[in-house]
Symmetry: C2
Subunit: 207 residues, 2 copies
């Protein structure tokens, strides 16, 4: 069985990552979502083991020490990390594992797993980002202003991603991610077994 | 109009590059082939301006001096190069321009055009490569042995390509190249205009 791809999905707050990931998971049985561990307090409606594994600082730091996380980062005073066991089991079972994480975590993942696939989700323009953030109607003007301000900073990191996904139409976007994953499987970094094998086979013809 | 992509197609001799490129050109009107200039003598059946522009050493070197080639390389004692004018006109007209060149030329192209797309075509295994080379029935055993020997050397350069195309089935392969080109358009290196624009737009929200 072909090993799954470790996929990072990042993007501006308000780009529609969450909806996109939900649709991808609902439509495709070979994609699974990695659930992060965090020391942040649960927000209303968030469920343990579904949205996050909520834990305390001591447990989190012990998990780091035991090498139980494949990456972790500190963000606005709280730890966030990706538990190793689930990710490795699912990849081995041929599933593409999605991590929905920030850029700092994304860079750590790429360093550790050069064959991971980093996707950055963005709306078609900044005006649309503002419109979507305001349209949610759930956040204060101050929070929205903070997210828009951070978006510029995040935009400086886009070049480090493998692909940019413009989220203008949800169905088109899910289809595009499928295309990107198919293409990613043809990059040399994810075809090392094939390359090693054919090099070895070709050795017999060397003069 | 979206600018075309400069595509390099390399691969083992016997991988079926030529057939693949012909099929791609026949089926897709947004792909064109760049015709190389060479100082090599025409082989039987080769046509001026279709297979190559045949020329002499003096003219070739003057063309280099006049910056009329986007890349050139020397291979088995002959010059091969890619005329600049045709490539740039076609890219501007939105066509994907295919260069069927060796690895040395491919590396030169990538250095000059970081947004070029390098594809490496290979059969599924070495035995199949040998079978195809022998199946042609047009070359001596010595020539075939030489090509197979060179294939190992070429295989050492595969990692520098953007994508590897396994040519097992011609129709599937053409379809796969379409997928790879679609994906390539979503890489940051080919989305610099978009990235620059959204960064600029996001500046107004900075605190």
């Amino acid at each position: 069985m072909e090993k799954g791809i470790l996929m990072v999905i990042s993007g501006f707050s308000g780009a529609g990552k969450g909806t996109l990931v939900k649709k991808l998971l609902a439509e495709e049985e070979d994609y699974v979502l990695s659930v992060s561990m965090t020391t942040r307090k649960p927000r209303e409606g968030e469920r343990e083991g579904v949205d996050y594994f909520f834990t305390d600082k001591e447990t989190f730091e012990r998990t780091i020490a035991e090498n139980g996380l494949i990456e972790h980062a500190c963000y606005v005073g709280n730890y966030y990390g990706t538990p190793r066991a689930y990710v490795e089991q699912q990849l081995a079972a041929g599933k593409n594992v999605i991590l929905e994480i920030e850029i700092q975590g994304a860079m750590n993942i790429k360093k550790l797993y050069p064959d991971s696939l980093l996707l950055f989700v963005t709306p078609p323009n900044a005006q649309e980002l503002e419109r979507r953030l305001k349209g949610r109607g759930t956040e204060t003007d101050e929070v929205i202003a903070g997210r828009l301000s951070r978006a510029h900073e995040e935009s400086l990191g886009i070049d480090a991603y493998d692909y940019i996904v413009i989220n203008d139409d949800l169905d088109r976007c899910v289809e595009e991610i499928r295309t990107l994953v198919r293409a990613a499987r043809r990059e040399p970094v994810r075809m090392q077994d094939f390359i090693d094998r054919i090099r070895e086979e070709l050795k017999v013809y060397q003069k």
